[in-house]
Symmetry: C2
DNA sequence: TTGTAGGCGTTATCAG
DNA sequence: CTGATAACGCCTACAA
């Protein structure tokens, strides 16, 4: 702790006792009394350094330390409207995809001395909007991760206070999104290099903005690499969803498959293996995201890493930047994706 | 500290203010004006229903709705000191163990209309204490998940505002901890039933309160089931730590192993399998916690489930209860653990 | 039941 | 550079 050993003058020490006896937390009034100055001077000294003579500055700082003073955020927020706080709303706390985002945002927030308040929308657009509205009055800015509400609602929120969106592109609002091109390109090229001719893409939720982008990326890359690409729909982007889609994937006759996310890939692999199919000898599987646990499987999952942590972190940075510089551009920030080759993909083995 | 000078610029500041003044948030004064009553009446009508005549109540509510009024949390917090907010500090956001805790706390908090503010201690006792202190002034109560600070500091915090501890028992502070007995009992009995005679326990961090409890549980259960129990130390409770400890585990000659947590179990299994050892035919592995991804492995991990989500949820409930009922008991709440049998444990196969 | 007045801890606006 | 003093929006005795 920063408990100063250097006790002030005896007089000051007495004043401290007196001030403290009053109530729980010391206020700038207590400090003012101890330092022998006006409360407003204390406020100045503590909030905007340089506006006060060095002498009184030190006097005040010492008194503050002695009293173990800490600002009352609410009192401060009242006149200024600013709290050192920002909100993060994720679609589903259960989904590991968001863990990294949360972590990233939390970490860079803390670094800049901001506090993170967290909420979940439970995949509901209404809940999401409600939470967002409630939060707006409490925080300085908001990060929306994979928001489910519609563009207009997002823009409305953004008109009120700074908002940054992750994993979706909204016109007029600063966004942070993984750019799938590099990663999908690498994945498809790797697959093509291993002799695959036909690739199946297991799509995510129909309304998912990201799923559409990934499918586009896959198609483009396949065209370039002269691979045939077919699309398979999934019922839900989970391990179970992956299991369920195994049959359809098999039916396509593709020897390589890229899934919308890792969960699907893992479920798919489990089901395929349960059916006696050897991965990657008979079929290569590549996931998307590189979530926690992607390397727990046997073989460990090859996947296109989406730097979620970086997204969270970047979004937080962007937000804090907006908070400080006022306006700023609403240009969207793209972070790179990359292929992480592990065991679930590779050369096709001659049957037999 | 990083306050930009632009903030002080009269032009920018004025513009912002003006823009906000245009559609500034309605206050109880505005409502009072519209409804033709006194602000204090509005306050009463909005905060404690029943203290106002039905007629004016409706009048006020209509006006509030019309003005799209929403309370200013800071203004409210100033006189009352309460914010409808609680903090959660976890040792490591990276650790999947905490995901469920966060989720549980967040969910039940939201249900009761409380907001969750999240912080991480990065496994540092000092950081933890600092965050805790900072938070204390902002929140109504605090949940400490696997805290690293010492008991006295926790008690001091608890003396200030309600505090609930998860995964550790602190005298005089309400705690929520998984009770290992049932789960370890089931695990050991299951192992014994499958013909195992010797069991190795891979311990967690030396200073971990939980690791000690688990080892005790294992010892007790083994004694009861007439199994020989040996303890093996690990360098760190992670997948890598699990890999590193494989050699030592093998050296004990045990045919069954229980690990401090799932991460260790997964690493251990990977290393063992890499060495050509078949799980569970040659050795049974049982983890602890049942974290996300525990069933991604091949074979899926048998584990003693620690209801982390429930812990988070229970802790939040406990906290809100304290917040509402004032004092209350500091009795610790124990939640049950249970064995989840999956593929990594089973009957020993005759060598050959 | 409703109005009056004072206070919560800071910041902001003026004077001096 | 520093000291008064008024907001900030709401709550709560205390009166009426």
């Amino acid at each position: 702790m920063t408990e100063p050993k250097t006790q002030g003058a005896a007089a000051s020490s007495g004043a401290v006792k007196k001030a403290r006896d009053g109530k729980a937390n010391a206020t700038i009034y207590d400090i003012a009394k101890v330092a022998g100055v006006n409360p407003s001077t204390v406020s100045r000294a503590l909030s905007k350094p340089g506006r006060v003579s060095a002498k009184t500055q030190k006097l005040i700082e010492d008194a503050a330390a002695e009293l173990n003073y800490q600002v009352n955020p609410f009192a401060r927020a009242l006149p200024t409207g600013r709290t050192h706080t920002f909100g993060l709303i994720v679609a589903d706390i259960t989904n590991p995809t968001f863990f990294d985002i949360i972590r990233g945002a939390q970490t860079t927030g803390t670094q800049r001395d901001y506090t993170l308040v967290l909420a979940e929308s439970a995949e509901s657009a209404i809940t999401e909007l409600t939470s967002a509205r409630r939060m707006m009055s409490t925080v300085d800015g908001l990060i929306l991760a994979s928001p489910r509400m519609n563009d207009d609602d997002i823009r409305t929120l953004a008109g009120d206070k700074p908002v940054v969106v992750i994993n979706r592109e909204v016109e007029g609002v600063p966004c942070v999104i993984p750019d799938v091109r590099k990663g999908t390109g690498e994945a498809v090229r790797s697959l093509a290099g291993n002799g695959h001719k036909k690739l199946a893409f297991v799509a995510g939720p129909a309304r998912s903005w990201m799923s559409a982008r990934r499918w586009e990326g896959v198609q483009a890359a396949c065209e370039w690499s002269r691979l045939e690409a077919v699309r398979v729909e999934s019922s839900k982007p989970t391990v179970d969803g992956g299991r369920e889609v195994a049959r359809d994937v098999r039916a396509t006759g593709a020897t390589a498959v890229l899934t919308y996310n890792d969960l699907l890939a893992i479920g798919l692999m489990q089901e395929l293996q349960a059916a006696g199919i050897v991965v990657p000898d008979e079929i290569s599987i590549v996931g998307f995201d590189d979530i926690f646990g992607a390397d727990f499987t046997t073989p460990p999952l090859t996947t296109v890493r989406s730097p979620l942590g970086e997204c969270g972190s970047a979004a937080a940075s962007r937000l804090l930047e907006l908070l400080h510089n006022g306006g700023g551009s609403t240009e969207t920030l793209r972070v790179e994706t990359e292929l992480v080759v592990r065991g679930s993909s590779g050369r096709l083995l001659p049957a037999g």
